[in-house]
């Protein structure tokens, strides 16, 4: 297994405009904590089988952040269940995988800490935290989760990470403008490049 495994954080969350503020905050927080965000969007529209890609990401990631907050009825009165499905694959990998995969770490995010009991009670006992639909709270959840696995480093507190995220958010329109791109046009990969270059602290 590639050594990057121990730094890879698989982000399992919805991809839609309404969730974007939380999603981009999570990606920033993972990177800011010294880990590597991985999610299905990094493959762009490659045309590869999406679920195959997701399984590969799970295989390559020690950590999994699973946001089940959008498990709710859609216009067809059916629940969106991709996130719980991918969470199940991740838990399965930890249970039945090799010794490497048995050490996988899981963080489950939801709007409310005990909402899962109404639709997925079997996941009781996992690390489930509430972000209350707030990007700032999601950042703190990510920081607190990853801080336990940061080795000898201590990651600055959630408030500090939030301050840096706020500063980056203020800069993002300028960064996009400089490379002739509208903020809403940026792809996930664009965003990650901006984040990582921003963190390098080049003046």
């Amino acid at each position: 297994m590639d050594a990057s495994y121990n730094k890879n954080v698989f982000i399992n969350c919805p991809f839609n405009e309404g969730y974007d503020p939380i999603f981009y905050a999570i990606v920033f927080a993972v990177a800011d904590c010294g880990f590597t965000p991985r999610c299905a969007l990094e493959m762009g529209d490659s045309g590869h089988n999406r679920f195959d890609n997701i399984k590969r990401l799970i295989e390559e990631s020690k950590f999994g952040v699973h946001d089940i907050s959008r498990t709710e009825l859609d216009n067809n009165d059916l629940p969106r269940f991709n996130m719980p499905l991918e969470l199940g694959v991740f838990i399965g990998a930890r249970k039945f995988g090799s010794s490497l995969h048995k050490k996988k770490k899981i963080l489950i995010l939801d709007t409310h800490k005990y909402r899962y009991q109404k639709f997925m009670s079997d996941i009781a006992g996992q690390d489930i935290r509430s972000h209350a639909n707030q990007a700032s709270q999601a950042i703190t959840c990510i920081r607190d989760f990853l801080n336990d696995f940061a080795g000898q480093k201590t990651i600055p507190g959630g408030k500090n990470v939030n301050n840096r995220y706020e500063q980056f958010q203020q800069a993002l329109p300028g960064l996009c403008h400089k490379v002739k791109m509208q903020v809403e046009e940026k792809t996930y990969n664009d965003y990650c490049r901006f984040v990582f270059e921003w963190m390098k602290g080049a003046d």
Partner: protein, 71 residues
Amino acid sequence: MPATQKKPVTRNLTQAEIDEPPEELWTRVIQEPVGKGTIPIAEIRRAVREVKKEMRDAEKSGIPLKWLKKK
């Protein structure tokens, strides 16, 4: 894996590489970026440098930047 799907190229990293900042690792592990992110990394680095400087200057002068997102 479907025959049309190219197996990602992976290799073991050295300890020095493991200790690298994550952004370097990220550019290495994402070996098949096929999204729209085709802006040269040098251009992004330049943009970051310029924006950071403009933000610092704006803070000193008190003149808000046109692109600066209002709080």
